[in-house]
């Protein structure tokens, strides 16, 4: 009996080998079905699209290789602005959103004004269309010519994005915090932690994990909405594409910009999937 503990001298039985064969065949079968179906659908779609009467004109206007090549450098340079804007705003939004969510959950009477401010902030900024906010801040504030404030429309467009998305993200965080069972706070308090400590070390870490998918959703949305800065005259990827498109009567640049945005968002989605899976594996190892 003994040596089997480490599994060294164990040999799978004939039945188990047969079972493994069945499982392998089931796997192969489902993989080939899915692969076959995907190829079939893609071919069908390609045939239908390329066979339709308007296709040559569509290809010329939206998928012209020369135009794509010609506009590429301008879009790439413009897109760098979108990426920078997104990176800076994302960090600011996370901080602001979490701060507002925490302010809303605060219990102390001394913090009541903060709580009210947080409620008013979310109600207000979730209600204003983002493009309106960008126009207001991007054109309006530099026009005030106040001393010490930046006059760059890009900076103010960034502030508008942070304010707008901060309100959304705050609500996402609040939902996450509310979803943590009160017994978690009780056990933290029972260990002698203060309420803020309980939030900091017990509730917020768990809440954050739960809200990663909706947060990602908001950030993909933010990545796309960085395109809105073009309305205040910032020469970003969309502005560059529009510039070229209107001059040459060709819409290929828009497709190129779309590809840029897709390439940016997909890795983020895969990264979050991977992160979520890792957390799950670590915390629920073979349990319940």
């Amino acid at each position: 009996m003994g040596p089997d503990r480490i599994g060294a001298d164990w040999q799978p039985s004939a039945r188990e080998l047969e079972r493994r064969g069945v499982r392998r065949r089931q796997r192969v079968r489902s993989t080939s079905i899915s692969a076959g179906l995907v190829v079939l659908v893609l071919v069908a779609v390609a045939l239908v699209v390329s066979g339709s009467p308007g296709w040559p004109r569509v290809r010329e206007t939206f998928f012209s290789w020369q135009d794509a090549k010609a506009v590429f450098p301008a879009i790439r340079d413009g897109f760098w602005i979108n990426v920078k804007l997104f990176m800076i705003c994302e960090v600011a939004i996370l901080v602001l959103g979490l701060a507002v969510a925490l302010a809303r959950t605060a219990r102390s009477p001394w913090l009541a004004p903060l709580r009210v401010a947080a409620v008013v902030y979310t109600d207000l900024f979730r209600g204003i269309p983002t493009i309106l906010l960008i126009l207001m801040l991007g054109f309006g504030v530099p026009a005030l010519q106040l001393q010490g404030l930046p006059t760059d429309p890009l900076a103010w467009a960034g502030v508008a994005l942070v304010l707008s998305y901060g309100a959304y993200v705050a609500e996402v965080f609040r939902a996450g915090i509310d979803s943590i069972h009160p017994s978690q706070v009780s056990s933290a308090v029972a260990l002698g932690l203060s309420r803020p400590q309980a939030l900091r070390f017990v509730v917020v870490p768990q809440a954050t994990r739960r809200v990663v998918p909706p947060l990602l959703n908001d950030f993909v949305s933010l990545q796309k909405d960085t395109a809105l800065v073009s309305v205040v005259g910032v020469f970003d990827a969309v502005f560059a594409a529009r510039d070229y498109g209107l001059y040459n009567f060709n819409y290929t640049p828009f497709v190129v910009v779309a590809c840029f945005f897709i390439v940016l968002t997909v890795p983020l989605a895969r990264f979050t999937d991977w992160l979520g899976r890792r957390w799950m594996e670590r915390e629920r190892a073979g349990q319940l």
Binding site: M1, D4, R5, I6, G7, W10, P12, S13, R15, E16, R19, V22, R23, Q26, G286, L288
Partner: protein, 244 residues
């Protein structure tokens, strides 16, 4: 009589760790099998394998005369015939007690709502839970929650009931309530396999007791024999530690 459940040579590993090895077990209708042994000896894993919540790595499990460890089998059909109660109750907190109990009959067995609710009410009443049908599980005490979990498992009239240390999370005062229910089920002839730390209870209700040690059934027999005159030294050690 043919065995309801027949386990032979079952093995289960998590990575390098062997958690079950060479498990043989036969359960006849109306048997009450008690699995005893220290934490980590594989009791829960065995029950999870029996309910097909885990795939075994070797060996054969037969239930109602069919091999259910075959990957081609419809697991749900088997699970519909087996009831399981967990240590941590695992009630659905977003449903009322009544909805917890009627969920499986209505959705997995296609019982009409009115009939499912009538039967659920009757079962709840039998176990002293009639007043709690419209409450949500978090409003109940641990003992009440565990009794609801038992009712939930019974509502589908399973051929076999698996109980995984169902009193381990309860305080001693409430343990009695739950054990009374199990005792009654045993008297009615419900076929059960249960992992437990309640030795006195095991001795009273079991038709057979299995002592698990390090993933193996080291010894099994009728409770009187196993508790008074165990064959293995390891069993003796364990019983000395846990018996009052």
């Amino acid at each position: 009589m043919t065995a309801l459940l027949k386990v032979s040579g079952v093995r289960k590993t998590y990575g390098e760790r062997v958690v079950l090895a060479d498990i043989d077990l036969e359960v006849e209708p109306h048997d009450v099998i008690c699995l005893i042994g220290s934490s980590g000896s594989g009791k829960s894993t065995l029950l999870r394998c029996l309910d097909l919540l885990e795939d075994v790595d070797d060996g054969v499990i037969e239930f109602e005369g069919r091999e259910v460890s075959d990957p081609r089998i419809d697991k749900r059909a088997v699970q519909r015939r087996i009831g399981m109660v967990f240590q941590a109750y695992n009630l659905f907190p977003h449903l009322t007690v009544l909805d917890n109990v009627t969920l499986a009959p209505r959705r997995a067995h296609g019982v009409p709502r009115a009939e499912a609710e009538r039967e659920a009410q009757a079962l709840l009443a039998r176990f002293g839970l009639a007043d709690h049908a419209s409450k949500h599980p978090d409003r109940l005490s641990g003992g009440q929650q565990q009794r609801v979990a038992l009712v939930r498992a019974l509502a589908t009239r399973p051929a076999l009931l698996l109980l995984d240390e169902i009193t381990a999370a309860l305080d001693p005062e409430l343990v009695g309530d739950v054990l009374t229910v199990v005792r009654e089920l045993a008297r009615e002839g419900t076929t059960m396999v249960l992992a437990t730390h309640e030795m006195t209870f095991a001795r009273e209700v079991a038709t057979r007791v299995c002592f698990l040690d390090d993933g193996r059934i080291l010894e099994s027999g009728p409770p009187d024999q196993l508790f008074t005159n165990p064959r293995e030294e390891r069993t003796r050690q364990f019983l000395r530690r846990v018996l009052p």
